[in-house]
């Protein structure tokens, strides 16, 4: 059965079907969830199966959308809500932070709000400043929220089911460039526990902590480095908050070196947090300075010209690791063979 390969999008779709079948009080709403595009295909078929009362479109009212999910939560309903871009969700920060995140706490634990908030990170094809923000740094900063960022179809399905049945608000961030990735996904229900990182590759020279799309880049980098006898341990964080420091610590104690990869702007990021935490707690285990790779601290520009070197990838990872290890290898082979840096694959022809 390990050859049952489906896309990340279908994995999400399966998770939604399974959750909604399992529990009548799972509802799903958001802008366009029932439209022909079905949230990039992830919500296709849900309304036909579960009816318009459980799967419905929304007015363009992001803040209220979130508040409605809180209210439904208080009545025992588990909402899965979605935004086609993280950026649109900025309108809902009051409901998220002053409401959802604190509800359980500020009423003395008497109620809780089981909400899963699906956010999609845009990238490429000129998305520009207001359609490609990542922002997990923000969500991870807020106590009371859990933040999940799957990197594979397998993780997407298992983490989404776990998120839906978690009794807390969970921010579930999907990278648009992962949507079409294909991977092994079991047909049946399974949950991947939140706050459990995954060791993707074992290695000894350095620990790489990575999330979301950067896992794809990291794997490319590691495969290249392996050919040159450099052995990396790759941790896919999967849950960004709370962080599984047990797994990270164990690895860093072994390798003595750390590189953290993030899809967000670098300043005050989850990557900084991990670097800081490890520096504070495992200072004596570190053989070299810990490092991170994240986006530059500027908004995302739109132009094909401006985005050329904007997103760090496998090449930057390899170069950084070589620098940490004080080695030098010719990395020319790693340059992106794809001339079009702004699309996830040659199949992508725009417009969004």
């Amino acid at each position: 059965m390990t050859n049952r390969k489906i896309s990340f999008v279908r994995a999400i779709n399966e998770a939604l079907f399974i959750a909604m079948k399992k529990e009548k009080k799972v509802i799903c709403f958001g802008l366009g969830v029932d439209d022909p595009m079905g949230t990039f295909g992830t919500t296709v078929g849900l309304q036909e199966e579960f009816g318009i009362e459980r799967v419905f479109d929304m007015p363009t009212s992001e803040n209220t959308l979130t508040g409605v999910s809180i209210g439904a939560g208080l009545a025992g309903y588990r909402s899965v809500i979605s935004h086609l871009r993280v950026d649109f969700f900025l309108l809902a920060m009051d409901q998220l932070v002053n409401g959802a995140a604190k509800w359980h706490y500020m009423f003395g634990g008497k109620t809780s709000v089981p909400i899963t908030i699906r956010l999609i990170v845009g990238r490429g094809w000129g998305q520009g400043p207001t359609h490609s923000q990542s922002l997990q740094s923000w969500f991870a900063h807020i106590p009371g929220l859990k933040v999940v960022m799957p990197s594979t179809a397998y993780n997407a399905k298992g983490l989404l089911i776990a998120s839906i049945f978690d009794n807390n608000p969970v921010i579930f961030i999907e990278h648009r460039w992962l949507h079409n990735q294909i991977g092994y996904v079991p047909k049946n229900e399974y949950k991947i526990p939140l706050q459990k990182a995954k060791i993707v590759k074992k290695g000894n020279d350095i620990t790489i902590v990575s999330i979301s799309f950067m896992v794809v880049e990291a794997i490319k980098a590691i495969n290249f480095l392996n050919q040159h006898k450099i052995s990396c341990e790759l941790i896919d964080l999967r849950t960004i908050s709370p962080i599984d420091y047990l797994t990270i610590n164990r690895s860093v104690k072994k390798t003595g070196r750390l590189l953290v990869l993030d899809t967000d702007n670098a300043n005050v990021s989850v990557a900084s947090e991990i670097v800081a935490r490890i520096s504070m707690n495992l200072f004596n285990f570190l053989k070299t300075a810990p490092k991170m790779i994240a986006l530059p601290d500027v908004p995302t520009p739109s132009s094909f010209g401006l985005t050329k070197n904007f997103y760090p990838g496998s090449k930057e990872i390899v170069e950084k690791i070589l620098k940490i290890l004080k080695k030098s290898i010719n990395t020319n082979k790693l340059s992106n063979s794809n001339d079009l840096h702004d699309v996830p694959g040659s199949w992508f022809k725009g417009p969004f």
């Binding site: 509802i27 009362e53 459980r54 929304m58 007015p59 009212s61 803040n63 209220t64 959308l65 979130t66 508040g67 409605v68 999910s69 809180i70 209210g71 439904a72 939560g73 208080l74 009545a75 025992g76 309903y77 909402s79 009051d94 409901q95 002053n98 409401g99 509800w103 359980h104 706490y105 500020m106 009423f107 003395g108 634990g109 008497k110 109620t111 809780s112 089981p114 106590p143 009371g144 859990k146 009794n167 807390n168």
Partner: protein, 322 residues
């Protein structure tokens, strides 16, 4: 309204009034260490609506929610204990006066960011509709809240889905120390606006508890039977300062004269006088009611004062639900 109902209504208004005034009186003891937004003068809406709602109808409210909580039948002792910051508080001391809850009567929560609880009320209503139950979700708000975008979003959502929601808007003319004049267009009727937005709306005297009771008894069954949401604006006035136990007519944003004008429209006094005039209650009975209530409130303060503080380490708990 039956006589029995009238007495209940009087009692409820008095409970709210006396509870609020007891907080005002004792606040200077510095034992209730959190901001309090008292509703003295605005008791009619809270009492009438609270009385007419069923126990399992949902309520959400704002920073000024003591009256709404008590009106709905919320536990007085636990409310005071919350204001004192004690373990027996309805939110175990985590929330304070601005974050009240009583799940026994489906008072689902009051929150302190203007407009914050509105869509929450809509979400509750959505589940009522899904379950085809006959419940109502009642959303309390101040007129200041009308200025927040989320109000309009919530109204629109409730209208589109014809949700069983009652919006209770207490227009007391001020948001903190800001007059309506600088916040909303002159001569614009809130009720007419909401009507044009798609929700049947009304505007009435918020100090005339008879009228409130009448209108609400007529409209609530309609909401229950699926005729869609209703919005009522209640014109009223808060007597005390925006936040805290004192009066603030002297500081300059409103006049003593205006206050006195409204004080004459005291909803409780008006109603009581009418009851007396119609021989529906005697002075003797009133005295007894007052005495009982004062007694109950004193006991509640004692309970709250005696309840222990939560331990500091408890602050680190309850961040995540299991």
């Amino acid at each position: 309204m039956l006589k029995k109902e009238k007495i209940k209504l009087l009692k409820k208004m008095k409970l709210i009034r006396l509870a609020e005034e007891s907080i005002a009186e004792k606040y200077s003891d510095q034992k209730m260490r959190c901001p309090v937004h008292l509703c003295t003068g605005q008791e009619a809406t809270a009492a009438a609506i609270g009385l007419l709602l069923n126990k399992n109808d949902y309520v959400v409210s704002t920073h000024r929610s003591h009256g709404h909580y008590l009106g709905k039948g919320g536990n007085l002792k636990k409310m005071l204990a919350e204001i004192y910051g004690k373990t027996d508080g309805c939110s175990k001391g985590y929330g304070g006066s601005m974050h009240l809850i009583d799940l026994n009567v489906n008072f689902m929560g009051s929150t302190a960011i203007v407009g914050n609880s509105l869509p929450v009320g809509a979400g509750l209503a959505l589940t009522i509709k899904i379950e085809r139950s006959k419940k109502i979700s009642c959303i309390f708000l101040g007129e200041g809240c009308i200025e927040e975008g989320v109000f309009h979003e919530t109204v629109n959502f409730c209208a589109v889905h014809k949700l069983p929601v009652l919006f209770v808007c207490e227009n007391n003319l001020y948001s903190v120390y800001s007059s309506l004049l600088f916040r909303q267009p002159k001569n614009r009727s809130i009720a007419k606006m909401v009507n044009a937005m798609g929700i049947k709306s009304f505007s009435i005297d918020g100090n005339d508890v008879n009228k409130i009771y009448e209108l609400a008894s007529k409209e609530l069954p309609k909401i229950r039977s699926g005729l869609g949401p209703r919005f009522i604006e209640f014109k009223t006035y808060r007597w005390r300062e925006h936040c805290g136990p004192d009066f603030d007519n002297h500081i300059g944003y409103r006049t003593e004269k205006e206050f006195q004008k409204w004080k004459k429209k005291d909803p409780i006094q008006q109603f009581q006088t009418k009851l007396l005039k119609n021989n529906e209650i005697t002075k003797q009975e009133i005295k007894k009611i007052d005495k009982n209530l004062l007694n109950k409130i004193n006991l509640a303060h004692n309970y709250a004062e005696k309840s222990p503080f939560p331990k500091p380490s408890e602050a680190l708990k309850n961040v995540y639900a299991k």
